[in-house]
Symmetry: C2
Subunit: 417 residues, 2 copies
């Protein structure tokens, strides 16, 4: 039953993908504009659906912060529409000739950027991800099958229907965007096995969701999001830069994957930086968990356990450790990090280069906040997530990272000897 339902979605996505890859950039952009306009026009319907989700969640005792993330408003719908218009304004990566070469036998080989085909996205977060994920996949000529969070069920369904109506108006198959209309965990697991139809699966959400997808999916997965990000204050750091960078990376927004979770300080500079830094962090309500040197220098800090160094707090907590060398800092980071973003603060060029080379993360920084790991901050104009794996895409993923390529080979009768 579930399998039949998912097979139907799969077949419909395959049909849609054939059509999508032949759309011109203009056709795609027009449809995105139309979808944006429809979300605004039909916002009453969307707000009513959202209200249903909101009341249900409230009755179930959802926390205030999560309730706020779930809630839609005219402003938030406008932002969602604006996101689609922004995607329409970006260059279309599809069709780009990435390489072109001739072989001695006369074969002419072109490497051309093409859509992935069918993208699956499993997410827990806010309903705006529905519109956003559609926009990014549609612009790159991909059909998309979404599995949203149970709490935003009615909102996701309304957004999907409104966009599908906009697509139909433009003469485009509504199967370009499909939402799985079931909330059972069983369906989610079966979706992860829909390898016959889905080319890539991207989970967006907490560590638990991502682990479950990695363990159960037979579809190739792009892992996103978990960030145990480090900042290392080198013995030759400029303290005028260091304190603002650390404050920014830890406190500018705490629930995000590119926030700093762990600080390493060279022993030679510990006495100089820790007291002032500790005060500044504590003023921002940050709890500091450190080793003995840290406890000696920062009144009010509490002892860190081994476990602290491996944690992504997503909270006003920072682990702090003193190290004796750059090498120790790099080894610590490569042991505990999640391959997301790590920074060194130093004025020593050789130290910076060693750190850039040897720290094994998607984004390695010198003298800047880890908070810049973001598709918009990188100038990609969009973001589907931050990849923490090494296959396919690493770091912020924009439109280009939602594409594959094919080789087109033109001959005039060549056969292999």
């Amino acid at each position: 039953m579930i399998k039949e339902y998912l097979d139907t979605l799969g077949r419909q996505a395959i049909d849609a993908k054939q059509l999508l890859q032949s759309l011109t950039t203009t056709q795609k952009n027009q449809a995105l504009e139309q979808a944006a306009a429809s979300l605004i026009d039909k916002q009453d319907r969307l707000l009513a659906a959202n209200e249903k989700d909101y009341q249900k969640a409230k009755e179930a005792g959802m926390a205030e912060g999560l309730l706020d993330r779930l809630k839609l408003s005219a402003d938030r719908i406008e932002a969602m529409a604006q996101g689609l218009r922004q995607i329409a304004s970006l260059p279309d990566p599809i069709g780009e000739v990435m390489e072109c070469f001739d072989r001695p036998n006369g074969l002419h080989i072109k490497k051309v950027r093409v859509p992935m085909g069918v993208v699956g996205i499993i997410y827990e977060a806010r309903p705006n991800v529905t519109a956003d994920a559609f926009g990014l996949c549609f612009k790159t000529g991909n059909a998309v099958i979404l599995k949203g969070g149970r709490d935003a069920f009615y909102s996701n369904q309304a957004i999907t229907e409104i966009i599908q109506e906009a697509l139909e108006k433009e003469g485009i198959s509504q199967h370009a965007l499909q939402l799985i209309a079931h909330n059972d965990r069983e369906v989610t697991t079966a979706f992860m096995q829909l390898k016959e139809y889905v080319d890539v699966l991207i989970p967006r959400g907490g560590a638990g969701l991502i682990r479950s997808v990695v363990e159960n999916s037979t579809i190739p997965v792009i892992e996103t999001g978990t960030g145990n990000c480090h900042i290392y204050v080198d013995e030759e750091a400029d303290l005028e830069k260091a304190v603002p960078i650390i404050l920014n990376a830890k406190t500018q927004r705490i629930g995000v994957c590119n926030a700093c979770e762990s600080l390493l300080v060279h022993r030679k500079i510990a006495q100089k930086i820790l007291p002032a830094l500790g005060r500044a962090l504590q003023e921002k309500q940050v709890e500091i968990r450190g080793d003995q040197t840290v406890l000696d220098q920062i009144p009010g800090a509490c002892p860190a356990t081994e476990e602290d160094y491996g944690r992504e707090y997503l909270d006003l907590i920072l682990s702090v450790k003193t190290v004796d060398s750059l090498e120790e800092a790099i080894a610590h980071i490569n042991h505990y990090n999640t391959g997301h973003s790590d920074a060194i603060l130093t004025e020593n060029k050789a130290h910076a280069e060693k750190f850039l080379r040897e720290v094994d993360s998607a984004c390695v920084y010198v003298n800047a906040s880890t908070r810049f790991t973001d598709g918009f901050e990188f100038g990609f104009g969009a973001e589907i997530g931050i990849s923490t794996q090494k296959l396919h895409a690493r770091g912020p993923m924009g439109l280009r990272e939602l594409t594959s390529y094919k080789y087109q080979i033109i001959g005039n009768g060549q056969i292999r000897q």
Copy 2:
């Protein structure tokens, strides 16, 4: 016990990968030359180990063709060494600056090509894969953990030891190359779960192995090799080119993934091409399985079942089907192919372009044999396999496809607003 053993290999690989990524190109090339020389110098040891495998396989009743693939000789060892020297002569992709851009806030962002880290390879085939896989991974700065086939166990172990000794001579950790010294299926499955240490897993072998890896691995996988390759003879094909191309694609080598397994012929040209083509194929002992039109035109052909169109024969068998249009050909191919290689034979440019655009395969050809889908034929100078998935790499995979990238971001105190 198994888990402990694999964890040890994993930790050793992680240590080795740190060292490997700091080797210069010259150091890597010297080590490859040294490994090549050692294989020649120590060939008696290797031949003795191979003899053990060979006798065991012979006693177990292994088929003649497989026995031949297993057997090493002075010539084959020379070819193995030559493969390593060839890899040494190729350009080093590591460290290449792929992109470089500045942001309005002054951040300077570089996208730099880096090793994957630790590559796992599971293979069934000939012992020369051991040297070959090592060479490709080593040149790209990756540590590699190999799980070879049970039949080549002693040969693989001898090759590994000889290369490890060569590495030690060059002052390089022998853990750059590790071979799993167990043959239980349980170990292979546990290896597929070694996500903590291994960055990418590449299966090389038959469809059964690949399916098992895709289903059981938690490590990101690159699927390789299954090829149900099609040739479509368009109504505007040049028959002088068509017959030699089809013969080549079907018969030049039959057990390979880029051989043609299925032929589609436009109805309007069927009478013109099928009789002569049928005779030419039958002269080469090819069994033809076709629809009614084919049976009418080719005496000796037998009826094709639905199942035939989905098969990768790897044998002297060809399925042949008549179609009424280019669209029908494309739809048939996109339904039955494995995303490997498909060709159109036509003199009509618009037909060729439609085929190139709409057939969803790694390699799409106009007027050439599908047998060219190969890293060497593409001029990559090496090949680890042919990817049939869309994530990361598609088509022939050379050195570059064994790499990832990282972003290096240089600031001077930037914080996010």
